[in-house]
């Protein structure tokens, strides 16, 4: 199946923002696309988080110094990384990670408020989720500024792991205030875990820091943050692979294209068929008539003077490192 070509139109990217929809694609199609992306990101991020992080994110008395900030970002980076790849490749928007983390937080709040709090009556603070929004934005900025998957995995991945604790400290620290309870020293979270019944989740099921004879105990937050960062660098590639091979690879079954974007799906496409900026009909910073109208071989003599980023050119068009 070939992609249908829209009618010719002559707008730049800035024009798009000013003038709104093109005659061929009204904004309703954009809204439809967003309406698909929002629940998709929310559902995938939320289900992944619930299945793998689960109790660490559900309950305040699981949010310890060791496992919670170690596992949450490592698991949490996978879907944002996949979303980052997909949104960048399909829409040219470096916002997939932010979108995934925002959708994750919104869907978590919907779950915690309506089920944990409004339905089962747990206090809101006891079941409040963690946020990953600062980390998602950091990941997108890392890609926006480097346009390199490798550098994004290193810089953005490390930031993703390191930022988790600072981003959540104000949300959670109140639960770590000490309480003397029946002559034992506990935190507020421990007291709530004792009092608010979770019949099938006795405290021995908690996987939390239990102390050990290793060094760096005083610096455990730093050690865990850096370790999580290193883990995020590795797990980022899991998300990248998910986006590239799970989200894109099946597309080749349905889409026959000579696109350089999806070209890797069809290794037989010769390199000289890859469009160059000038041949693609680029006007200043936006989509020129040739670009939209299928004029891949039309020379408009335009120069991409306003396009940003450290590199451009056919050989690096897909953001390859």
């Amino acid at each position: 199946m070939s992609i249908a070509q829209p009618p010719t139109r002559s707008v730049t990217d800035d024009d798009d923002r000013r003038t709104g929809p093109s005659p061929a694609f009204g904004r309703k199609w954009d809204l439809l696309l967003i309406a698909v992306l929002i629940p998709a990101f929310a559902a995938i991020a939320h289900i992944t988080h619930m299945l793998i992080i689960g109790d660490w994110d559900f309950w305040a008395d699981w949010k310890d110094r060791q496992w919670w900030p170690f596992l949450s970002p490592m698991v949490g980076i996978v879907i944002p990384a996949a979303a980052q790849y997909i949104v960048w490749r399909l829409l040219g928007i470096p916002g997939g990670a932010t979108a995934a983390t925002v959708m994750l937080v919104l869907s978590q709040w919907a779950s915690r408020f309506f089920t944990f709090h409004a339905w089962v009556y747990y206090p809101l603070a006891f079941v409040s989720p963690a946020t990953m929004i600062p980390m998602g934005i950091a990941l997108d900025l890392a890609f926006l500024l480097t346009r390199s998957w490798v550098l994004t995995s290193i810089v953005g991945g490390m930031a993703f792991g390191v930022l988790f604790q600072p981003a959540n400290v104000a949300i959670t620290a109140g639960m770590w205030v000490p309480v003397v309870y029946h002559n034992e020293i506990m935190t507020v979270a421990d007291v709530m875990g004792f009092e608010y019944l979770r019949t099938q989740a006795p405290s021995y099921l908690r996987i939390v820091e239990e102390g050990h004879l290793r060094a760096f105990i005083e610096q455990i937050n730093i050690v865990v943050g850096l370790t999580a960062g290193v883990g995020c660098i590795a797990f980022y590639w899991g998300g990248y692979a998910l986006g590239r091979f799970v989200a894109f690879a099946p597309a080749k079954v349905f889409i026959k294209t000579k696109s350089p974007i999806l070209g890797f799906l069809h290794p037989g496409v010769p390199e000289d068929r890859v469009a160059t900026p000038s041949a693609a009909g680029i006007t200043e910073g936006g989509i020129g008539p040739a670009a939209v109208a299928g004029g891949g071989t039309t020379d408009t003599h335009a120069t991409p003077t306003d396009t940003a980023g450290p590199r451009s050119g056919a050989q690096e068009q897909d953001g390859r490192p």
Binding site: R17, F25, I137, P178, T187, Y204, T257, A275, I282, P304
Partner: protein, 412 residues
């Protein structure tokens, strides 16, 4: 086209029927009043922990008032292989969510905040103080959770919790180490919501900025191979994104400063050692054995017949008070009779040093309805605890009885 419409119409009608059936089903659903304990194999649940003398101090209370669950747990010496040893356990309350709060939990008089190690063959008096939180009729049980095995549920009772006069909201006040008293029902909720919103607002602006761009033209241009993603990003896009990113990172930094000022002294989550409360030795005074080596169950009359040879080794007389099987109490007192009866061919009193064979008949519909009698199981044995009064009513001695159950068509 018309065929497609017809097919779509059929699908729509099917969906409506399914929705109607589901909705009607929900309307007709009745609340569950059990916790699934009857579905645990009887040879496991009746032979591991025996709850006896369990009492609920006041089953009719108002929100904010407290009541106590108390009693004894005897951990069977013949602990079944299918249940992990009770090295890490926790006594808790089975309830439909946090309808009540656990305010105190004592095992053998010792406060147990988290887990405990128990010994087989010992009895542990327990006391759980519970505060009513939500109005309603709630079915509550004590339960011993065993690490690696699951929950072993004790006898339950329905508790009726009424609203406070005037409907005043429930509060759960706790005094922090700083001396400040806070209400755990609402504590820290504000901070949590506000900081989430502070992160959310710039992030949504970031997304609105990017996703407000005409998306379909970008998609077509990219998929068609006429543009690359790099070419669609302007310098202005970069500036706006970096600015919003810096705002979010600034909020993160501010949150760290805020929390260090507001909560200068915090602790990591506290993990207590596994407690080892002292258990009582309550066996040994009366020895019980089965001269016939089995019990016989007659399905038509819901009767379990067994001959037990009791030998009182103590210096005082004892009287068989009741037999406990799977939280069901079989006794001879019609006043306390709950549908489970105990009949004997001889008096239930044993003098010092006396040995006697008692032919007992235990009758209860619970044998069938609550699946106390093993069905097709790998071990056709159920556990029972014979509880004896010793001199005065407060002191008990118990004997553990494991009953191989043989199903017979002839009434015992």
């Amino acid at each position: 086209m018309s065929r497609v419409s017809t097919f779509a119409g059929q699908l729509l009608r099917l969906a409506l029927v399914a929705l109607t059936v589901c909705t009607v089903g929900l309307v007709g659903a009745t609340p569950a009043f059990a916790h699934g304990e009857d579905k645990q194999p009887p040879n496991l649940r009746t032979r591991a922990v025996h709850f006896y003398d369990v009492q609920f101090s006041n089953p009719d209370i108002k929100v904010g008032e407290t009541f106590t669950m108390s009693g004894n747990m005897y951990l069977s010496q013949e602990w079944p292989n299918g249940v992990t040893n009770p090295d890490v356990t926790q006594l808790t309350v089975v309830a439909p969510g946090p309808t009540v709060l656990v305010k105190d939990r004592k095992i053998s008089g010792q406060f147990i905040s988290q887990s405990m190690r128990l010994e087989k063959g010992k009895s542990y008096p327990f006391e759980i103080m519970v505060e009513a939180r939500r109005a309603g009729n709630w079915h509550l049980h004590p339960m011993l959770a065993v690490h690696g095995a699951g929950g072993l549920i004790g006898p339950g009772q329905e508790v009726h919790i009424a609203e406070r006069p005037g409907g005043a909201p429930f509060t759960n006040d706790v005094t922090l180490a700083t001396g400040e008293t806070v209400d755990l029902e609402t504590y820290n909720s504000g901070e949590s919501v506000v900081w989430h919103l502070l992160y959310l607002i710039p992030a949504l602006l970031f997304l609105v900025y990017w996703f407000a761009k005409p998306l379909m033209p970008r998609l077509i241009a990219l998929i068609g191979g006429r543009r690359t993603p790099d070419e669609l990003v302007t310098k202005r896009d970069v500036k706006v994104s970096v600015a919003l990113g810096l705002v979010v990172l600034g909020i993160t930094a501010a949150s760290m400063v805020y929390s260090s000022i507001k909560w200068p002294d915090t602790l990591p989550l506290q993990v207590q050692n596994v407690a080892t409360p002292a258990g009582n030795t309550v066996t040994g005074t009366v020895v019980a054995e089965l001269p016939e080596g089995r019990a016989t169950y007659h399905n038509a009359t819901d009767t379990l017949g067994v001959t037990v040879r009791f030998h009182n080794l103590g210096a005082t007389p004892v009287e068989l008070s009741y037999l406990e099987i799977g939280n069901h109490i079989f006794d001879t007192d019609p006043a306390t009779n709950t549908g489970a009866t105990l009949a004997s061919d001889q008096p239930l009193t044993l003098g010092p040093g006396e040995q006697r064979d008692l032919k007992l008949q235990l009758t209860s519909i619970a044998f069938h309805d609550n699946a106390v009698i093993p069905g097709a199981e790998v071990t056709s044995v159920i556990g029972s605890l014979a509880v004896f009064k010793q001199g005065n009513a407060e002191a008990h001695t118990v004997s553990e009885l494991n009953l191989p159950v043989f199903k017979d068509q002839v009434a015992p």
